[in-house]
């Protein structure tokens, strides 16, 4: 039954893609309808007229779009149901599909870990399918055919779900690559922009490299076992060296997809250029699938984790978290910023996962479970709020036709509903209390604080440092999202487009956002709901669950023990409401103090203009000063002079570009290297036939000499 739900989810998303292909098939459908009408004139007239109605030229595309997203949404709901039921039932369901290699059918396994990620995908996909129909309306059919979008969206979602179901290396890779390739087409959807093409190429290239690393990782395992099924791989007996090699390969492969520094460069390029609901899925969900892969590979297939791996994850995670948020801060493009922020969040997840490994190998499975729980919870939360923010960015883009934060402003009055929802996303991602982001970060801190139980001096000093970095990351994230919300929604609008923007009319789009926002808040207040589910994952994967996670009642969160730490968000909420209500009531009771609107104070110069406001780059200038080694900063001020002796300034232009270090230091050399190599190798092909004959001759002589 549960498996049926899971399969339905996959198939529905697949069919939604296929249905999308019908976009250009109105004529055949019409003809079919005519034929059908002629053949069975007696069968339900109403049905036929309804058919004909649907096929009417104007209505057909709209209806089809709705139908496609309806199927997608249904797939999301089925995924949620499947995930929930397996998490609650705590079962492990296996199955085989007779596709694939003759001696290796596709093995399917649906357990709590898969179920949890099913849940994430399901929620995200449901929200996206509410949002989608309104969003894709703005695409012109001739330039951006809906069929392409729908097909690859369906395949993308199906691919992600299949990755979670896969129980053998071959099937896993097929699903994995299906996901990559489908999303590649989505990234390149608006391919008339060079940026999209470049991003898509980079993305596919890195996906390919990553996939090769993963295959190799499986290959290492497979060469120590007798098959490619995960069952066989689990039983592989590896030496520590080989296990570490496998781990490094998996880390490279999955890390590339997840976007950890320094293999993250595709992410901030690819996510922003895809349609927003796809960016949401990519950033919010696909990265989680990579995470799933890593967890599956390390905790499930390799089994015996080593603390050294944990240290590697911890360090990489710390670097990614800090790097991600610092780069995010400098981005003027909203979606790039969100993409970099995904790097940050993935970094946090990796950090905690690393802690979990360290505790696991040091004989503290309970703490390992805590770490895993924190990581999974953060993954879940990140999926919620990152989706929310990307969808919000989509609405903003839809209404203002731009993504440059420096060109926005004042949208809070023009788009009140969107602004509230977006604010909730910003607060969640800044990990403010009462919202879900805070809970997982709190758990992450709690995990790090358990360092006392370890014996190893290196770890004992390393973990606090990373905890400090985590604290810094959280603070920087808050700063970053203050900037985002402040620049976009507050103040005065900085551009013409923004001035004319208005609230989105499509209810579905807002409903998609609202769903996510409500969940962000709900799981911020009642994290116990989701934590008890994740506990089952930890139980199945590590064989350990958290102790008395509900000893103080279900309102409380006490992951280790009530004496060590506890958090009761509902009580905090009540307290906050009381405090705010009391002060509000106390101050507003006097009717004489009704407020009055007046001009904003302009220092007496007269006439505030939007240009006087702090801009995005101005806001982040102190950070640029403080962390200036982190970026490659290209900052120029150009002055046009005029007047006598060119003494007066006519105009000033300020130019700022901030770049990622990894590009010129890692990728550029590789690219140049390949080109140079090609040039050198190209010399063998001189174009002269006598040279070619010489090669043939020399090869023959050489070979004869070799064998004799």
């Amino acid at each position: 039954m549960i498996l049926f739900l899971a399969y339905s989810a996959v198939l529905l998303s697949f069919f939604s893609g296929l249905l999308g292909l019908m976009m250009h098939r109105r004529q055949p459908l019409l003809a079919f309808n005519q034929y059908w009408l002629a053949k069975f004139p007696t069968v339900n007239q109403r049905c036929q007229s309804a058919m004909a109605d649907c096929l009417e030229e104007k209505r057909f595309p709209i209806l089809l779009r709705r139908a496609v997203f309806f199927l997608l949404g249904l797939s999301g709901i089925f995924a949620i149901l499947a995930g929930l039921s397996v998490l609650i039932g705590q079962g492990v369901i296996t199955d085989q599909i007779s596709l694939g290699l003759p001696w290796l059918p596709w093995h399917v396994r649906f357990d709590c870990l898969s179920g949890f990620f099913f849940l994430i995908i399901g929620i995200a996909v449901s929200a996206v399918s509410l949002y989608g129909p309104g969003y894709v309306n703005s695409y012109k059919e001739s330039q951006h055919p809906f069929a392409v979008l729908a097909l690859f969206t369906g395949l993308f979602v199906a691919g992600m779900l299949l990755v979670l179901l896969a129980d053998d290396a071959f099937f896993f890779m097929i699903a994995w690559e299906l996901m990559s390739v489908a999303s590649y087409f989505l990234v390149s959807f608006q391919h008339e922009n060079p940026a999209n093409r470049r991003a898509a190429f980079l993305y596919l290239l890195m996906a390919e490299v990553g996939a090769l690393a993963i295959i190799l990782g499986f290959g290492v395992l497979a060469s120590f076992s007798d098959g490619f099924t995960f069952d066989a791989l689990r039983n592989a007996q590896l030496s520590t060296t080989w296990a570490s090699i496998a781990f490094v390969l998996a880390l490279l492969g999955f890390g590339m997809k997840a976007g950890i520094v320094p293999v993250h460069v595709w992410l901030p390029e690819a996510h922003p250029v895809a349609p927003s609901h796809i960016s949401a899925l990519m950033s919010g969900v696909m990265l989680k699938v990579a995470l799933y892969g890593l967890i599956r590979f390390c905790f499930d297939l390799l089994g015996d984790v080593h603390w050294q791996w944990g240290v590697v994850l911890l360090i990489l995670g710390t670097v990614s978290a800090l790097g991600g948020i610092l780069y995010a801060m400098m981005q003027p493009n909203l979606k790039s910023l969100l993409a970099y922020s995904s790097v940050e969040n993935i970094g946090i997840i990796f950090m905690v996962l690393g802690l979990s490994m360290i505790f696991m190998d040091n004989g503290h499975p309970q703490l390992a479970a805590l770490g895993l729980l924190a990581a999974l919870l953060h993954a879940f939360n990140h999926a919620l709020f990152k989706n929310l923010l990307f969808l919000g960015a989509g609405i903003i883009h839809h209404q203002t036709h731009q993504l440059n934060i420096d060109m926005m402003g004042g949208l809070i009055k023009k788009m009140p509903k969107t602004s509230v929802l977006f604010l909730i996303g910003c607060m969640s991602i800044s990990s403010l209390p009462l919202f879900n982001g805070f809970v997982s970060e709190w758990l992450a801190f709690q995990t790090a604080l358990q360092v006392d139980v370890l014996d190893n001096g290196v770890l004992r000093s390393l973990i606090p440092v990373s905890a400090a970095a985590l604290a810094l990351t959280a603070a920087l994230a808050a700063a970053c999202f203050v900037k985002v919300f402040g620049m976009i929604f507050l103040g005065q609008s900085r551009s013409h487009h923004c001035d004319k923007a208005h609230e989105i009319q499509d209810k579905g789009m807002l409903a998609g956002l609202s769903l996510l926002a409500v969940l962000c808040f709900l799981f911020g207040i009642f994290p116990g709901l989701i934590i008890s589910l994740i506990n089952n994952v930890a139980g199945q994967l590590l064989g350990e669950t958290l102790p008395n996670d509900a000893a103080l009642g279900w309102l409380w969160l006490a992951p280790v023990s009530a004496n060590q730490a506890s958090y009761a968000p509902p009580l905090v909420l009540i307290g906050a409401l009381i405090a705010a209500g009391a002060s509000f009531w106390f101050l507003r009771r006097n009717p004489a103090t009704v407020m009055r609107r007046a001009e904003t104070w302009d220092c007496g110069f007269g006439g505030l203009t939007p240009k006087m406001q702090y801009s995005c780059s101005a806001f982040t200038m102190p950070f640029r000063r403080i962390f200036n080694k982190v970026w490659i900063i290209d900052e120029r001020v150009e002055k046009d002079m005029r007047g006598a002796m060119d003494q007066d300034v006519a105009a000033i232009r300020y130019h700022l570009e901030v770049h990622d270090h990894s590009w010129p230091h890692i990728y550029q050399p590789i690219e140049n290297g390949v080109n140079t190599l090609a040039k050198v190798v190209g010399r063998i092909q001189t174009g002269n036939i006598r040279t070619y004959l010489g090669y043939s001759f020399a090869t023959l002589i050489l070979m004869l000499w070799v064998i004799s």
């Binding site: 040039k679 010399r683 174009g687 006598r690 010489g694 001759f697 002589i701």
Partner: protein, 225 residues
């Protein structure tokens, strides 16, 4: 085993091998096209003689067919065709300046030694004569390739190509008394068609680059120029 202990047939074959090898060397150092073609025809004739010899002494009638084919193709048709081309192209007065001729000749000599070296393991399973014959044919092959590498005229290339075929035939006749007839016929057919095609190509190349110098055929390459 000394040569005087062998029967007359073997002695003859060995002599033929030596002569065939010699013609290859002659071709290698030859700068004039007409002489090159003549030497090539000589080689073909030696091959025919060898085939007849083998057919006669081994009483193997199908080798006669093969001899006739060789005679027709390698001694008469191809040299005739090439000669005609040379005369038509008015190249019979040209002398191709061969670079490093001495080195090439020395290389050719060492190739001969190399052929013996490579084929040495075969001695265990057969006679020294076979080794000699095979080594000579291998070196004829290699010398043919060397000829192609060192000469720039397309006609010389064809000669080299055909001389490689000669080497092969020699090996086939001496070591195994010829291949099965079907194969022989097939190979002969291929050679015939190849010869015809070469004729066509000379025409095409001439119309295209107005010369038969293969060094001028260098438009397709991967080098930055």
């Amino acid at each position: 085993m000394n040569i005087e202990q062998l029967d007359f047939y073997t002695q003859a074959i060995l002599s033929m091998a030596a002569l065939v090898g010699l013609t290859s060397f002659l071709m290698l150092g030859q700068g004039r096209l007409l002489r090159l073609i003549f030497v090539f025809a000589m080689q073909g004739f030696l091959l025919t003689l060898t085939t007849v010899l083998a057919a006669y002494s081994l009483n193997n009638p199908h080798l006669y067919i093969s001899a006739v084919l060789t005679l027709a193709l390698k001694v008469i048709f191809i040299p005739w065709m090439l000669r005609r081309q040379v005369v038509q192209m008015n190249m019979h007065r040209d002398i191709e300046a061969l670079k490093n001729n001495t080195a090439v000749m020395l290389g050719g000599a060492s190739l001969m030694v190399f052929s013996y070296y490579v084929l040495h393991p075969i001695v265990q399973s057969s006679s020294v004569v076979m080794l000699n014959a095979l080594a000579v044919s291998l070196s004829v092959m290699l010398l043919g390739m060397l000829l192609m590498i060192s000469h720039r005229q397309a006609i010389a290339h064809v000669v080299g190509f055909m001389s490689i075929e000669n080497g092969l035939f020699f090996a086939a006749i001496v070591s195994t008394n010829g291949m099965p007839l079907v194969v022989e016929l097939g190979v002969a057919f291929d050679v015939l068609v190849a010869a015809v095609l070469f004729g066509i190509f000379f025409f095409h190349i001439r119309t295209s680059i107005d010369s038969l110098d293969v060094d001028l055929l260098n438009k397709l390459h991967e080098v930055d120029k």
